[in-house]
Amino acid sequence: MSQISKLALVVLLVTASAAALAEAIDGTIKPRSPNWAAIIMFGCFVLVTLGVTRWAALKTKTTADFYTAGGGITGFQNGLAIAGDYMSAASFLGISAQIFADGYDGLIYSTGFLVGWPIILFLLAERLRNLGRYTFADVVAFRFAQRPVRLFGAFSTLAVVLFYMIAQMVGAGQLIKLLFGLPYEYAVMIVGALMTAYVLFGGMIATTWVQIIKAILLLGCATVMAIAVMASFGFSLDALFARAVEVKTALASAEGMSQPEATARGASIMAPGNFIKDPVSAISFGMALMFGTAGLPHILMRFFTVPDAQAARNSVFWATGWIGYFYVLTFVIGFGAIVMVATDPTFLDSTGGLRGGGNMAAIHLAQAIGGDLFLGFVCAVAFATILAVVAGLTLAGASAVSHDVYASLIRKGNTSSDDELRVSRVTVVGLAAVAIILGILFQKQNVAFMVSLAFALAASGNFPVLLLSLLWKGCTTRGVVWGGMTGVLLALGLTVLSPTIWVNVLGHAEAVYPYTSPTIFSMPLAFVTIWVVSVLDRGSRAVVDRAGYLEQRVRAETGIGAATATSH
């Protein structure tokens, strides 16, 4: 595996030289000049994770190792890995930036991202572990006709993974351009190359440990930042809020607002504001976040990495705790940034905005707290965060292609482990290339929009399909496929007709679908379609489908016959 050490060297050299190059040639856009502390610390992260990958590569022999780390991850480890998979740079930088700009509204986002986890625990996690091996389509297809169900599973997995991946790649490119002074295309390519190395050689074992390391780093640095903020206010949240309101009021009057207007603007950060425009969009968005979490293929896949249902359950408990704790920290960090960043002219550009754009609030706060060295550390952690998330996404996409499409459909199960492994590795390289190209093509796209679309698709397709196939006896192959496709296509269609695409991108005067999120219609319609089609299904397959429920239920509830862990 000396390829890995060579790759590490190449990545370091490219990072360093491209940074220097960007500094030399880029006079017009003027990204931040390279932060050497950040580059060195990021280099350390790359070296450590590639070392882990090398170790993982030696242990990755079968498809079970590659897709699920042989089922040998403990509940606690998997909880951290799930947190590492789920806490994206978008949530760290995006939510703290939103709190920096509007205060309270960021908290609404955070709660939405968290409340899907208990639902996963109560309704899905243990059943998934008891019935599935590698992909969520294993679980849905348990008693149904393999071909149509797996085709749907692969289609919806790739749809969700691609939109989520574009968001991460674009975010990565923009972030790294700002943090390290690298050109956008280089940044996207470095992310693509590293994630390919992790997944290609180390499979799920490497991906899991990259996610665990990243989760610990991210939680650690967010904790330090939150404690530093709280310490300067005598550990009184109320004092922090009071000062933040003062700062926002002063900034508003400096912009020329009258005194009552400025006071109202200042007070507005302590209450819900314009984030939620109308009740329909509010509920729809809430549904997308809550149920979308329960349908994300790269998250569902993590439940197959533990030895049994008990460990799956424990991993959600740990993940919920870590993720919830993280959102509380980002709340403090956002308010800390209002007080410590918005008042310091070194962090502001000539127009009074944040240097480097709105997403940089947490990054500037790091510098205000701990100087260049801590800034470098936080930058490196932000980069690591993106890497861990894209690695998980790539693995989920690759397993859908190699396990659901190739092994189960094309070869109808008659394939060797080596053969299937080869296909998934080719897919990994293909997906990485697609991710890099899409990342460059969609450079100007709104990242938050892409993420919410991925959640809407997962909530409208995977979630209804999974829930009804697990819990409803009458569910049939036809119902699942028709309902799932209806949900996914309707969510996509309504999104195209919504203001974001129809008006802002396509330039029409008025949106056909006036709300910001499709889920309030697409998700219930998916449930109804599954139900109606299943009830009306008179085919011979439907008889088999319904008859299979009893045994599936016993297995799901007791864990009898569940795939066992391979020992390491």
Binding site: I119, P272, G286, T558
Partner: protein, 102 residues
């Protein structure tokens, strides 16, 4: 070894376990849904309720309510894990053992 899945499905112990667990998980899911969508509906229809300061502090009612939603989510997962370990796991294990020894 082949387990008699259909026989287990007819076992009253199995049926009791499944019913107990279903009641509990749906109840907890219901609590989470009511708490979260209640929060969203308050934001959608009555923002002022959350904008009111607590006493003469700067902190508004929205802060404990929002952080409370996060806390409820974590607590509910804890409650489920505890009950599952004490009640559902031993019941499921007993069931599997009963049919393994036969």
């Amino acid at each position: 070894m082949v387990m008699p899945l259909r026989k287990i499905a007819e076992d009253p112990c199995y049926q009791a376990l499944v019913a107990r667990r279903a009641r509990f998980t749906w109840a907890l899911s219901g609590v989470m849904l009511v708490v979260f969508f209640g929060y969203i509906l308050v934001i959608a229809f009555n923002k002022e309720l959350l904008a009111r300061p607590i006493g003469d502090h700067s902190t508004t009612w929205g802060i404990p309510v929002g952080l409370g939603v996060i806390l409820v989510a974590i607590l509910l997962t804890g409650i489920y894990v505890r009950r599952a370990k004490r009640d559902f796991d031993p019941a499921a294990r007993a069931l599997v053992e009963k049919y393994t020894s036969e």
